[in-house]
């Protein structure tokens, strides 16, 4: 693949991701606003929708925390891709602009470009496809900081999982900018559970889980969490979450890892598929989930 094309595509992906929200997220917010019974909650949702509107018109980021960047790359991956992605992130930081968020963990010195050791974080899924597919998930700190992992005793089972998810959302309260989307990773190893919890957020709202049992669980969790009354921004109301997304993997017979990653209302994601002849197709979520 041509390095320049990848870099260019990454800049465009970041521009799409941070200045507009995916249509499924906007629809969910509009629907929530129309259903809310609390006046405070309705005004919060209206402010969010007005803000998204203004961002789109002015082509500026919907939220000032443009996050740190996680990339999912599938296709014929090679060692040069990471460099092109990093160049794209640095350019996007300058051109859009994105907020320079990336600092050294101890000295807190800012790299200024959103690129430094470890970031952007690129996750590869090599395939024999002719095309390269790149998805970006910019993640703000307000919601990322609420991430939680439990290594449950397997005997806790499904009820333990439900309780942990409910507890995590309640504990987070208004801090992750609700209404949130709840990403859940069940099984795997500890780090795989956390990674799945974030990757689960790539599936658009309204698109059911491939496993019908999990779709039911997702819907039940959504309804139950919305009974808590945390509401938009934690100021009370019917809309605490827009949805729950679950990914699973097999795990050790003596383990039951569960991870939760909350995604604020600024649920930004964008995908591009780069074909070998140079064509690029843009979308807002992986094309073949």
């Amino acid at each position: 693949m041509v390095a320049d094309l990848i870099e260019e595509t990454v800049v465009q992906l970041l521009r799409d991701a941070v200045t507009t929200l995916p249509p499924d997220v906007i629809e969910a917010l509009q629907y929530a606003e129309s259903c809310e019974t609390s006046e405070v909650a309705r005004s919060q949702l209206r402010t969010i929708l007005d803000n998204v509107d203004a961002a789109g018109r002015l082509s500026v980021p919907v939220c000032q925390d443009t996050g740190v960047h996680v990339f999912y790359v599938t296709g014929p991956v090679d060692a040069s891709i990471e460099e092109s992605i990093c160049m794209g992130v640095a350019r996007a930081t300058e051109e859009i602009p994105l907020r320079p968020n990336v600092v050294h963990p101890l000295t807190r010195e800012n790299s200024g470009t959103n690129v430094a050791i470890g970031l952007p974080h690129v996750i590869y899924y090599p395939t024999g496809d002719e095309f390269l597919e790149i998805t970006v998930l910019p993640k703000g700190a307000g919601s990322e900081n609420m991430t939680s992992l439990a290594m449950l005793p397997p005997s806790d089972g499904i009820n333990g999982i439900k309780q942990f998810i409910l507890d995590t959302v309640v504990e987070a309260g208004g801090r992750p900018c609700p209404p949130t989307i709840v990403g859940v990773g069940i099984g795997g190893t500890s780090e795989l559970a956390v990674s799945m919890a974030k990757e689960a957020l790539l599936r658009p709202l309204g698109l059911p889980n491939l496993d019908p049992e999990l779709t039911i669980l997702e819907n039940n969790l959504t309804e139950a969490i919305n009974l808590t009354g945390i509401g938009p921004m934690g100021l009370g109301g019917d809309t605490t979450v827009l949805g729950v997304r679950i990914c699973t993997a097999y795990c050790h017979t003596a383990s039951l890892p569960v991870a939760v990653n909350l995604q604020c209302w600024a649920a930004r994601r964008a995908t591009a598929r780069i074909y070998s002849d140079g064509r690029v197709r843009f979308g807002r979520s992986p094309f073949d989930p």
């Binding site: 803000n51 409910l166 208004g174 801090r175 039940n220």
Partner: protein, 196 residues
Amino acid sequence: MILEYPLSKNKVQALQLGQIVSVSGTVFIGRDEVHMRALERRHQGKLLPVDLEDGILYHCGPIMTRDSRGWKVIAAGPTTSARMNKLEPDFIKEFGIRAIIGKGGMSRPTVEAMKEHGCVYLAFTGGAAVLAAQKITRVRGVEWLDLGMPEALWIIEADSLGPLTVAIDAHGNSLYDNVEKEVQGNLEAARLRLGL
């Protein structure tokens, strides 16, 4: 109601929980690092580059750009105030600020400090960065830019920045505490819905 800098103790004490307001005039933007450095300076007996007394502090890490005419705000929504929980009671006491704009609320020690010194917490919709930027008419200055753009101390002029909800008043009441109590009461129903 529009609140304007400088704010008096009486003025903020008259504000009621749940009231919708906006702010105009000078606003100081500061978050984690500003709190740390300001308190450090104060404990060393050094002066701050600006006087925060009777001021409005905005928990925000903005995106700014600079051209030949100076700094311009691109996006400036509120950041999570809870990160400042440990430092805020001291900050309120030492610098005499009268209002804090942020998101997510603050913990009991800050609520108590607000009651003791006369300060309120104004909740702004998290992430409403573009709407906020449109209400910021001018960037008057910046200090401590070495802390990085999101962490620097920015001095801005606002025109009806809002809508803001009085979420912690100057009498020890917090809307977040009220909602939390309601949530605790609703947990039983949520658990039942999940068959727990």
